[in-house]
């Protein structure tokens, strides 16, 4: 941090122009994942069964649907940033760009499927 102009040091953005934002968001979602995954594991373990009727009835309640939505957003954002770091560390040629694009397609596609499914169950009881 010793080089550069004074205003540059104050901004702290560095050559990537985004500063420590990615790093900080990764730690922030680690914390929210910690809480949400504990909630998820305890809830799943305490459900009387995991059959269709029980799971649908559970996911229809606001106190299950909302944490479940937050969990998907938090976990998916966290592993998008984690896998992005892994790709940037190990892929050095043009395949890096391809891998990053595929990662984003994967995360957004899977996330959309999960969010839509949770909302459908919550609002309509999962009826096909």
């Amino acid at each position: 941090m010793g080089s550069g102009t004074e205003i540059g040091r104050v901004r702290g953005l560095g050559s990537a122009k985004s500063g420590a934002h990615h790093w900080w968001m990764h730690r922030l979602t680690a914390g929210s994942n910690f809480l949400l995954m504990l909630w998820f594991l305890v809830s799943i373990a305490r459900l009387p069964a995991l059959d269709y009727a029980t799971v649908i009835a559970w996911l229809q309640t606001p106190l299950a649907a909302v944490p479940m939505l937050l969990l998907v957003i938090s976990v998916f954002a966290h592993f998008r940033m984690g896998l992005q770091t892994v790709i940037e560390d190990y892929q050095h040629d043009e395949t890096r760009v391809v891998a990053l694009v595929l990662l984003n397609f994967y995360v957004i596609g899977m996330g959309a499927l999960a969010v839509f499914s949770i909302l459908k169950i919550a609002f309509s009881g999962g009826a096909a």
Binding site: R27, A30, F34, M37, L41, A45, A49, L50, D51, Y52, V55, I56, L59, V72, V75, F76, F79, G82, L83, V86, M110, L113, A114, F116, S117, I118, K120, I121, G126, A127, A128
Partner: protein, 116 residues
């Protein structure tokens, strides 16, 4: 060293196998009773208990999760600049194993023995 690279391996395993299983479960539940039965058939036997695939994925992913959680907390401590002394650093790496093994056993004892 091993625990550090394992943090990436466990993370990548959950981002692929774990995420696919979670989304599959949610999509199946939102697609109706027949689709949900198809999802359960993948993991359970006819009487409702877990089959071999169910046990491998269930125990494997829960252990993977607890190990990632343990090494993740260890990294959060190192992020604030602490725990870089060789001895305590090594001990905390070993503690992540103790934690993940114990947490996985306790989780499954609760599911299979306490709950029945």
């Amino acid at each position: 060293m091993a625990v550090s690279i394992l943090h990436r391996a466990t993370g990548a395993a959950m981002a692929t196998a774990g995420a696919i299983l979670l989304v599959w479960w949610l999509v199946a539940a939102a697609s109706g009773a027949d689709a949900y039965r198809g999802f359960l058939d993948l993991l359970t036997t006819a009487d409702g208990s877990l089959n071999v695939v169910g046990y491998i994925l269930g125990i494997g992913l829960s252990f993977t999760f607890f190990q990632h959680m343990g090494s993740g907390v260890r990294h959060l401590v190192m992020d604030v600049g602490a725990n870089f002394e060789l001895k305590s650093n090594k001990r905390s790496a070993q503690l992540t194993w103790l934690w993940s093994v114990c947490a996985t056993i306790l989780f499954w004892v609760y599911l299979l023995v306490v709950k029945g």
